[in-house]
């Protein structure tokens, strides 16, 4: 019941995001969308994922989007026109994905392939092999430590990329402009800055 309510809110929020042209409202709705998704994850007993979704999706990314908005305009410049070909493509892809879900095992089916590969070993042996009560942590940090190292490297690369792209560029431009002004003065003013 609560699943259906959350999913209905999720769909309504997504439709509202598509419809509204005020970007500030869109950012806020995206935050609400993440919070609803976090609620669904809690409902699915995936507390760690819900925690991450609430902190990253609803928290930090909303702030970053607001930061972007303060650099750009608050409204979309041109309303997007309805075009038949992309719509057809999206509908076809969606239908194909829905058709694909028919083959998938039911939610929580214990005989699903994903629950029969390595998951039983993690659940049975984690207590004696790793000894950490939270199995999610033991899988994330120990069994799959190499994957997590890759994820941290992704975050590292993203941070360095943002710093290189938009960090400090403005200061350099100002320096260049200041230098240009100085050379135009011909050094007559000296320490005018």
């Amino acid at each position: 019941m609560i699943d259906i309510a959350l999913l209905a809110f999720l769909a309504a929020t997504a439709l509202a995001i598509v419809q509204i042209h005020n970007l500030f409202a869109v950012v806020m709705l995206a935050g609400i969308y993440s919070l609803l998704a976090a609620g669904i994850f809690v409902q699915l007993d995936a507390v760690d994922v819900a925690f991450t979704e609430a902190a990253v999706g609803a928290g930090i990314s909303t702030i970053v989007m607001l930061g972007t908005l303060s650099l750009t305009k608050e409204r979309e410049r041109t309303p997007i026109r309805m075009r038949p070909l992309p719509l057809l493509l999206v509908v076809a892809t969606g239908a194909a994905l829905l058709y694909g879900t028919l083959d998938m095992p039911n939610l929580g089916d214990p005989n699903a392939p994903i629950h029969r590969h390595v998951a039983p070993r993690y659940i049975e042996e984690s207590g004696s092999e790793v000894g950490v009560p939270n199995i999610v942590t033991s899988v994330l940090a120990s069994y799959r430590g190499y994957d997590t190292l890759g994820e941290v490297c992704v975050i590292f690369t993203a941070g360095i990329g943002v710093i290189l792209l938009i960090g400090g560029r403005r200061r350099r431009e100002q320096d260049k402009r200041a230098k240009g002004a100085e050379s135009m003065d011909g050094g007559a003013g000296g320490g005018g800055a």
Partner: protein, 138 residues
Amino acid sequence: MRHHLILRVVAKLLIPAILLFAFYVQFHGDYGPGGGFQAGVIFAAGIILYGLIFGIEMAKRVVPPSLVQMLIAAGVLLYAGVGVASLLLGGNYLDYNVLAHEPIHGQHLGIYLIEFGVGTTVAAVMIAIFYCFAERGR
């Protein structure tokens, strides 16, 4: 935001609690939900809140950008360093069993250290991104 008295007072009350909660999530991740990723984001949120309320210059005095940039790399280095340490101690890469006398203790130590590395990098990257956007905005 000099004149927003209520915001400033509430932020002053909230920020220590947010930072403390981040450390709780960081070091309690072995026992409950949470871990380095979530803790890093929450810690960064505390600093970003400070920056939003008291101005970016004040935030930079608390957490200087040069320190942030060092911490971005330090977290990854700590994580990868744990792997190298386990290699040098005779195990596989990121095999924590060899880090202490008993495998379980080694696992605990390894997870503790790499989660700390994850938290450091995540928090530093989030703060750095916030600084970049705030700088551009002016």
